[in-house]
């Protein structure tokens, strides 16, 4: 009746987990299915295989422009939020100082705020100081939003770090910068790469901030939002969406593999 730890394992629980996983994956698996379907409507039964929706994307210059914007914004946001995240995560894991909890709370706040309020408040301050809406404002805004995620990835990477390694390096005459470059960096590098990938993915998929702050230069989600009004455009949006989902999954899986390999190495050492 009871399992190994005296904790009962119900027969129903695994079945529930399977149903739940199906519920989670259903929407993101449907997009690719219909993106290869030879019909404009998303109905069953399927109407045969086609690649024409994908082919139509390559000639769509507006979409390609939006893709370029997204790529540019994503790279900038990933770099900026990881850079800022490294400072904060290192300060919060390594040092004890007054206001540490408050600083952590502020940086994590975007997780506990409705995104629209973050977007609206940024819009107000940006227009207030007379800045034009552009990709730069999207980058500034998305970085605030990505920081909590970048910081969680980095903090867990930094927490496994053994401080005595650094102390040994300093005692042996290495400079502070040299220690960072030759001792600290190699150990925390996997966390940094994970953080870059995760932030890039969040930026690529982020819609609300981009919608409010992008002005006349759309990112991919903003472009998709504009297309949703036209039923005839749906299949090519599905094709584009499938590519984006595939890309997100590849990036996240890579981040996870890097993170786990590093974890195993630290545990093994």
């Amino acid at each position: 009746m009871s399992g190994r730890h005296g904790i009962a394992k119900s027969r129903w629980l695994p079945a529930y987990v399977v149903v739940y996983l199906a519920f989670l994956y259903l929407p993101i698996l449907l997009l690719p299915i219909f993106s290869f379907n030879n019909a404009a409507a998303t109905t069953f039964p399927l109407a045969g295989f086609t690649l024409k929706w994908y082919a139509s994307l390559w000639t769509n210059t507006v979409m390609l422009e939006a893709a370029r914007n997204s790529l540019f914004v994503g790279i900038c946001v990933a770099t900026l939020s990881t850079g800022l995240g490294i400072c904060a995560a290192r300060a919060l894991t390594r040092y004890r100082f007054r206001g540490r909890e408050a600083a952590n709370g502020l940086l994590m706040a975007p997780l506990f705020l409705p995104e629209i309020i973050v977007a609206v408040s940024l819009l107000m301050i940006i227009l207030q100081i007379g800045m034009e809406l552009s990709l730069a404002t999207v980058i500034l805004g998305q970085t605030v939003f990505c920081l909590p995620y970048a910081m969680s990835v980095l903090t867990s990477g930094f927490e496994g770090f053994d401080r005595s390694l650094e102390e040994a390096s300093l005692d042996l005459g290495e400079t502070a910068f040299g220690t960072f470059r030759r001792v600290t960096l190699p150990v925390v590098a996997p966390a940094i790469v994970s953080s870059l990938l995760v932030s890039f993915t969040i930026s690529l998929d982020e819609f609300i901030l981009a919608f409010f702050l992008s002005g006349t230069e759309p990112t991919l989600p903003v472009y998709i939002w504009g297309q949703l009004r036209f039923a005839a455009k749906l299949p090519s949006v599905l094709a584009l969406g499938s590519i984006m989902i595939a890309l997100s999954i590849i990036l996240l899986t890579t981040a996870e593999i890097i993170r786990r390999r590093a974890e195993r190495r630290i545990q093994g050492a």
Binding site: F44, L92, I125
Partner: protein, 304 residues
Amino acid sequence: MTALPASTIADPDAPARAHWKDSDEAKGLMLVSPTLLYALALLLLPILIVFAYSFWSQDYLTIDHSFTLDNYRTALGEPIYQDLLWRSLTISLVVSLITVMVSYPIAWFISFHGGVHKSLWLFLITVPCWTSYLLRVMSWKVILGYQGVLNTGLMSTGLIDKPVTSLLYNSNAVVITLVHSWAAFAILPIFVSLEKIDRSLIEAAHDLGDNKIRSFLRVTLPLSLPGVISAFLIVMIPTVGDYVTPKLVGGKDGVMIATAIQAQFGKGANWPLGAALSVTTMVVVSVMAGAVVLALKFFVRRIR
């Protein structure tokens, strides 16, 4: 350490200040400051500005900076905003309740039966939540639509003769979509708190004659309460201001407060009112979240 002269004992900070630049405190503050300044300038300051705006008024394009509560009178008094706020709160409460309830068994399963593959399970569960939110909402629209996947699928199997119209464009569609979107955010904190539970406590409850349900209610659930509470907060507060889901799948019955807020920054162009609506939403949802936390604590104490 050498004994300190009496004069410095009077000022205990003095020796610390001499080497303050080398102290952990100074290093920590210096290192955190770029990030902190960024967040102060682009998170805290903008929110303070929203707060300030909510007490100002607007006449066409000029802002009158004299203090007024008129925006709050409109935000809380106009039936349309009352309705939207009420619906947003109801939806976010229902969504967070359902999300926590359907997610708890998953977190429990991974924590207690995940074995060596715990992190793989967590990864599998969280991946869908990391893909584009807009695309997932769009996909639900495709699933639930009149000529959608569910209807045409059921019709081709012969279970129904004509499409069910009640699937899309109502608050149920909003709830389903939001529960799907926020699943991982509920599972992770609950999982973390379940992991911290000392397994021998549950074993002890069994040995002392508690059955499965009693040991769950009296040991596991109370000890995982911190995780349940953070799951509630992390789902409830952001969903109250959701914009995409009501717009795409909500129809007329599913409109939420974010649509009204957005309108004040677009066509309506009444920033002070938009600011007051934002502040009202934040305050009201925080009060509701506080009430839910208290209710949960009370409930768990009672069943213990």
